[in-house]
Amino acid sequence: MKTNLKLVALFAVALAVPAAALVACSSDDTAVKPNNTVDSGTNDTGTQPDTGSQPDSGADSSPNACATGLTFDNTRVPGFPNSIPQP
């Protein structure tokens, strides 16, 4: 049983290392729609908000468009986004 537990642990580590490497590889956002919900880096090249679930741990290649901005909650606007009433 002891031997079996060790094998399971080794197997888990073997799976975890490539997964961690994959996350690290996606740290720089260069696409129009970067894939992160929470951007912990200081830079972000995209113009759209991040919609993914992975945190960003890397430094990106250009300034984050919204790093110093303020967001208005457009759900307060009737009909937003596709049916805003026309006066």
Partner: protein, 409 residues
């Protein structure tokens, strides 16, 4: 009884004579205020008043002094006078050597407008078309802000929200807390601020809603928004040019500026890098779209040169044509003191009015002055700027010394 009637008649005559004397002595004539300089009548934008006050001092100190006589009408009204050759009877304003404002009376029948000043492109005004012998010269950048009372909880407004607020006036379709027409303030129809706001939002100006406070000028909107602070701070909303908004971020008639989030954008920005600075960083870099160059329209000859030599001199100050370095620096100082942005401090420009999505393009001024601008506007140049006394003190990507700082060219 007859004696009493005579007395009444004499008293009445005396009163009439006194009234007549007072009327004629209310203001000095604009053409002879006792101040130095050849008068040039400039009519239009009420938002441009603080900037004109500053520039007036520079022009009065010129080798051939010029006395600006300013008639505050609204941008489109000034352009209308200019393009239809209509004489303007409105009371004028001149500034003396200490910057004190003096009201003056236009000549009988009105003053011939030498120069129209507008916050917006002439095409943004209804029924304005420049004549073949008229030209639009562009000056420093006028910035506009959505403003709320200082106690308002709001910090940012989106294009989508402002479109609904001003399109419906807080009725039927509502964006809280701006839900009361009485507190949604707008300028009068002749206002350039009004026209530019409509362009910014993509809102048909004929469908603009809201309340026009007082005479509908910049000062009236400022007063109305500030006054709402005591009763309905969250309900009130207005638009002001930065020269009015920036001078009232504190003090007795304080308002609060909002960040602006363009159509479809994820966030908005202040005109400045924060609500407490005056660097216009987001205007100059293109992140904040609510601005436009000031426009000066006058009559020109076949070569595009103003037909009035004194007007040509005035325009050379605004466009920096043929000025020595010291005079250029004076004009930068004046425009900064008037809370406008000199073109030499801009990194973007536009050739048409702003829209819901911005049309500004990258711009590289011939004689950049970004470091000097910030040193004047904020009291200190950015850390990245290098002070200099000549080109030998500059190197690398900023080899040229301009106004005491190393610039790119």
């Amino acid at each position: 009884m007859r004696r009493f009637s005579k007395c009444v008649g004499l008293v009445a005559f005396g009163a009439m004579a006194l009234a007549a004397t007072e009327a004629s002595a209310a203001n000095p004539p604009c053409t002879s205020t006792g101040l130095v300089g050849t008068p040039v009548f400039i009519a239009g934008s009420s938002a441009a008043k603080p900037m004109l006050k500053q520039v007036s001092a520079a022009l009065a100190a010129a080798a051939n002094p010029v006395r600006l006589v300013y008639q505050s009408l609204g941008s489109c009204a000034g352009l209308s006078d200019m393009t239809t050759n209509t004489k303007e009877p409105a009371t004028g304003i001149v500034w003396d050597g200490t910057g004190t404002e003096i009201s003056c009376d236009a000549p009988n029948g009105g003053a011939t407008v030498d120069l129209a000043i507008s916050d917006v492109f002439p095409t943004s005004c209804t029924n304005i078309t420049l004549g073949a012998s008229q030209k639009d010269f562009q000056g420093s950048v006028q910035v506009f802000d959505f403003v709320v009372p200082p106690s308002s909880k709001e910090t940012v407004i989106s294009q989508e929200a402002a479109f609904v607020v001003y399109g419906f006036g807080g009725v039927t379709n509502v964006v809280n807390p701006w839900a009361d027409t009485a507190f949604i303030f707008r300028r009068a129809a002749t206002s350039g601020t009004y026209s530019m706001t409509a362009k910014l939002l993509g809102l048909d100006i004929a469908k603009f809603k809201g309340t026009i406070p007082g005479a509908g000028k910049s000062g009236d909107v400022l007063t109305a928004v500030h006054a709402a602070d005591t009763t309905s701070p969250d309900k009130a909303l207005g638009v002001l040019s930065a020269d009015y908004a920036d001078t009232n971020r504190g003090g007795g008639s304080a308002i609060k500026v909002l960040a602006y989030q363009p159509k479809g954008a994820a966030c908005g920005f202040y005109a400045d890098s924060s609500s407490t600075t005056f660097d216009k960083l987001n205007v100059r870099g293109g992140s904040y779209p609510f601005w436009g160059p000031l426009h000066f329209v006058t009559n020109v000859d076949g070569q595009g040169v103003p037909v009035n030599a004194t007007v040509a001199l005035v325009l050379s100050y605004f466009t920096r044509t043929g000025l020595d370095v010291a005079t250029k620096q004076k004009m930068i100082d004046a425009e900064v003191a008037g809370y406008t942005v000199p073109q030499c401090a801009m990194k973007v420009s536009r050739t048409a009015e702003v829209g819901p999505t911005d049309s500004a393009a990258a711009f590289s001024p011939a004689e950049p002055c970004g470091c000097y601008f910030e040193s004047k506007a904020t009291g200190a140049a950015p850390k990245a700027c290098t002070a200099c006394t000549g080109d030998t003190g500059c190197s690398g990507s900023t080899p040229k010394c301009r106004y005491g700082f190393c610039e790119a060219k």
